[in-house]
């Protein structure tokens, strides 16, 4: 498969301008600046690119919503606040091929008419700020940024803005609040950022990977890009794979490979270590539903499941999951779903901004109930209470953090209820691992061999 984003990540010195340029970098800027901004937007629309941050909204369509009131500046913000547990793909891109992001930002800023563009990066990625600032300075010194770029009359500056450790700032309106120097409390929509965003100006917020993907889209043309992949999952996707696999890391895939191939092939995750079996997987970042191995590798209808938007969500939340941000978390047979769900609930409780009561109170309740169950102090009715709490958070909050906190809990109970019950029934052994529940029905191993 041809890689579009990570094709050159192994080349020594690709982090620096000279090498990047020699390898064909910034060609897309030369091409794009000869087109009109509307033509650039059209190419991105034609490409079928879907936002790579998690929601999967078509990028070209998002761009076409930006309001253009006379005399009001517009802004593009790159969302580099990557904080979804299991996701570390943007970090890889920024750390090793920073110029790809800068190149994408120049074209995207041109398409949107943003003369001042910001990269909002999570505070913990402190050393990457230096890498990006150096790349921006190199680009500027070589005439790709600043006034009248390549004589096109287009001016553009890019600034890196460092956040300070808040998952919620990955939500676009919270990110905008944070960039204005405030607490990261999401705004009520409408008005949408495309109309009133940063400093009440029209604003588009795009994920790092989405912006980087604009480079190959312009280079090859939107129609050609759309030919890669399948259905509405066009192009390539970065997957950050972690958990119990032999080769954790960031992989670029075209979205036609099966989940099974992704986990077991040596080209990607390389299988499960120590001869253990696959128990479960969260395929798209911690917020999306966890799936037991049997539903992960095959859909409920018994068809092969593929690594793309449609196939991963086949069956809805009852028997499917989501592509999400591409944070792929694999569990081997020894892992405890209750404990893992407890850590995720603690995460969402910690990260709730506290604005909406269902999320502020609900995440705390879920954390406490799960902690009780995990440490052998739970009762059977707690499992129903947990279900009740999560269902009252979902859909009742200003931003999607509420849903993101509710979904993993719902899916864990839906598919692994017997593990919760096991914890209640075996309080003395609640800290034991590998308690051998048959849910890790790995379809690759004959049923007779299962514990």
């Amino acid at each position: 498969m041809k890689k579009l984003l990570l094709e050159k990540d192994h080349i020594e010195g690709i982090r620096f301008y000279e090498t990047y340029r020699r390898e064909g970098g910034y060609k897309s800027v030369e091409k794009a600046l000869k087109m009109s901004p509307a033509e650039v937007v059209d190419e991105v629309k034609k490409s079928g690119l879907r936002g790579r941050g998690g929601a999967g909204f078509p990028t070209g369509l998002k761009w076409s919503f930006i309001a253009k009131p006379e005399g009001v500046p517009r802004h593009l913000i790159c969302n580099a606040d990557e904080s979804e547990p299991g996701t570390f793909k943007d970090r890889y891109l920024m750390e090793f091929i920073p110029h790809l992001l800068v190149e994408g930002l120049i074209i995207s800023s041109y398409a949107l008419g943003s003369n001042v563009t910001y990269i909002y990066i999570r505070g913990e990625y402190a050393w990457i700020v230096d890498i990006l600032e150096q790349a921006i300075a190199e680009a500027k010194n070589n005439g790709w940024l600043g006034k009248n770029i390549l004589g096109s009359g287009f001016d553009c500056e890019i600034y890196v803005h460092r956040g300070s450790g808040a998952y919620i700032c990955g939500e676009e309106t919270a990110l905008i609040e944070s960039l204005e120097g405030k607490r990261g409390n999401p705004r009520i929509k409408p008005p949408f950022p495309a109309v009133k965003g940063l400093w009440q100006r029209p604003t588009v917020v795009n994920n790092v990977e989405s912006i980087a993907a604009v480079v190959p889209i312009i280079n090859m043309g939107g129609d050609e890009y759309a030919k890669i992949g399948v259905g509405k999952s066009t192009g390539t996707k970065l997957i950050s794979a972690c958990g119990n696999i032999n080769k954790p890391g960031v992989y670029e895939i075209d979205m036609t490979i099966s989940v099974e191939e992704f986990i077991y092939s040596d080209e990607y995750c390389g299988g499960i270590p120590n001869g253990k079996r696959l128990k479960a997987c969260i395929p798209g970042g911690s917020s999306v539903p966890i799936l037991p191995a049997n539903l992960l590798l095959k859909t409920a209808k018994g068809e092969t499941r593929y690594m793309n938007y449609e196939s991963l969500s086949d069956g809805g939340f009852a028997t499917g999951s989501m592509m999400g941000s591409g944070g792929f978390i694999v569990f081997d047979e020894d892992q405890c779903i209750v404990r893992h769900t407890y850590t995720l609930s603690r995460f969402y409780w910690h990260e709730s901004c506290g604005q909406c009561s269902p999320c502020r109170e609900g995440t705390g309740w879920m954390e406490k109930i799960l902690k009780n169950i995990e440490y052998g102090k739970g009762k059977m009715k707690d499992i129903d209470l947990l279900w009740h709490v999560q269902s009252n958070i979902e859909g009742n909050t200003i931003c999607p953090l509420g849903d993101a906190a509710a979904w993993p809990v719902a899916a864990a109970i839906r598919h692994f209820r017997d593990e919760f019950e096991w914890h209640v029934l075996n309080p003395e052994e609640s800290q034991r691992r590998n308690f051998g529940l048959a849910h890790y029905a790995d379809p690759l191993i004959p049923i007779g061999e299962l514990v």
Partner: protein
């Protein structure tokens, strides 16, 4: 008197220039990072008041931000702060054991600082290094693929030589 160094003042002015006129409040988060770096890695009230005066905003505007974001320390911390991730993906790779081991080795619980002021142990939520777990942040950088041996080495390194945190 609380005052940024000349170098840091230059950085602050550079930051303010990134935003439109009158929107200098936008520089607040990055400026607080600089403040923390200069003033012993935590934000005392007089420091926050100083930042407010620099950005021409009310002190309360700084307090509400400083209390919201987890990277700002509102009380003194040790010279070396071990911020160990404990969220799901790190947990799957044994972060619980690493946290317990560091605690045992330093004789402190998460959230505490050693009596000599050298080390603080802090548990944090997902730092975006799930593929390189277990891991922790120390100053500006990540320490990844942690094992007990590696933890020993890091502690030794901190005790015997000055480790670059910025």
């Amino acid at each position: 008197m609380i005052q940024f160094s000349e170098e840091n003042l230059k950085k602050v002015n550079e930051l303010i220039s990134h935003y439109p006129e009158g929107k200098q409040k936008s520089a607040l988060l990055p400026v607080l990072h600089i403040a923390q770096q200069q003033f012993d890695n935590w934000l005392d009230v007089p420091v926050m008041d100083y930042v407010a005066s620099l950005l021409n905003i009310l002190p309360i505007e700084v307090y509400e931000v400083a209390t919201f974001y987890s990277m700002y320390n509102l009380k003194p911390v040790g010279k070396y702060m071990f911020e160990v991730c404990r969220t799901g993906p790190c947990m799957l790779r044994g972060s619980d054991d690493i946290i317990a081991y560091i605690g045992e080795k330093l004789g402190i619980k998460p959230g505490e600082t050693t009596s000599d002021g050298m080390f603080t142990l802090k548990t944090v939520e997902c730092l975006g290094a799930c593929g390189y777990a277990p891991m922790m942040q120390m100053g500006k950088y990540y320490r990844e693929h942690l094992t007990k041996e590696k933890v020993d080495e890091i502690i030794e390194e901190c005790r015997t030589q000055s480790v670059n945190l910025n």
